[in-house]
Symmetry: C2
Subunit: 199 residues, 2 copies
């Protein structure tokens, strides 16, 4: 049996380790790359090389950065005393797409999880407490995912920071914009009903 | 708004051009690569570079190769006089996984398609006719997909080669191994019934 040549086999195996790609879609993606080797594969390889060499974690907040501090932490106008806690960099990008929050972030790098044996010392949690003091923060906004692990982590952080005497808030839960009630789960409807507002 | 740094943005945009990845899954894959920059992104970039430099089409059959001829065309034991025509390299790999066919291949690089304006001159079709003569082939096996375009192409090739006096066959159509009749479409059941065999 003559399968793909050895380095193409290696390419397929590496591609299959990306999230969202299985063995079959990795084969398809590899063949697509080989067909477009000049227009896509070479630029992609060069960009990966550059990113692999330059990308690092922001020393302060954990955001992806090309310097010691990320653009948000380097920007003096964003030192508003608000720190928004997110699970990962993808969540930070999602918050930034909202174009509303003007403060800084703190990227935990995951959530507490008893099942996966992830405790507070595995996350960027101790650092958060020291940042609140160093940066004279007045509010910590918990923008964690509305999952069991996310909410467990939010409660843990709220307990941990309660002595500091700052405001601790979390994102509102309710009906998403454009959402139809008929398609929402019972938990969301219950949360939206509990947090109902006077018009 | 502070989105991803510029070269990470470029990485995400290039990843989003892979089949099976959209903007959101490209972001996820890029973040995964950045997290595993030593263990995954650097090896992947190096492998892509190597493949982009070495990969070419086999001059004879169109298979992906690292030399002028692919391993199958270079192997004298595979000159059995049988040429199996496939649409793409992925189909060739699928046939090879079957571990039964001992002849050589001819990769068309697509199918005839009036809608997409793909005619015989856009495929590796003229080359097939000359190969049959050069290699003293006795049988051409049409292993094209059971789609409208695939079957149109198969009929075109069969017509094109009829003067050469060789055997032209195509893969059998019927119930796939492990398939349940209740889940099969009517066309497949009809084809399987028409091609029924005496036990």
């Amino acid at each position: 049996m003559a399968g793909p040549p050895r380095d193409i086999e290696a390419l397929i195996n590496l591609m299959a380790r990306l999230p969202g790609l299985g063995p079959r879609s990795a084969r398809r993606a590899a063949l697509h790359l080989i067909r477009k080797r000049g227009a896509l594969m070479q630029p992609l390889a060069q960009t990966m090389m550059a990113v692999a060499q330059n990308a690092r974690d922001c020393l302060r907040c954990g955001n992806i950065s090309t310097g010691n501090l990320c653009p948000i932490c380097s920007d003096p106008t964003r030192g508003t005393g608000q720190i928004c806690v997110v699970e990962g960099v993808a969540d930070l990008w999602a918050m930034e797409r909202g174009r509303t929050f003007q403060g800084r972030y703190h990227v935990l790098g995951g959530t507490l999880s008893a099942l996966d044996d992830i405790g507070p010392e595995d996350l960027r949690l101790p650092k958060l407490k020291s940042r609140v003091a160093e940066e004279d923060a007045t509010e910590v906004i918990l923008a964690l995912n509305a999952t069991v692990d996310g909410q467990t982590t939010a409660h843990y952080i709220a307990d941990d920071l309660v002595d500091l005497g700052i405001t601790i808030t979390s994102l509102a839960q309710g009906v998403p914009i454009g959402g139809e009630l008929d398609y929402l789960d019972d938990g969301t409807i219950l949360a939206a009903l509990r947090a109902r507002r006077r018009l």
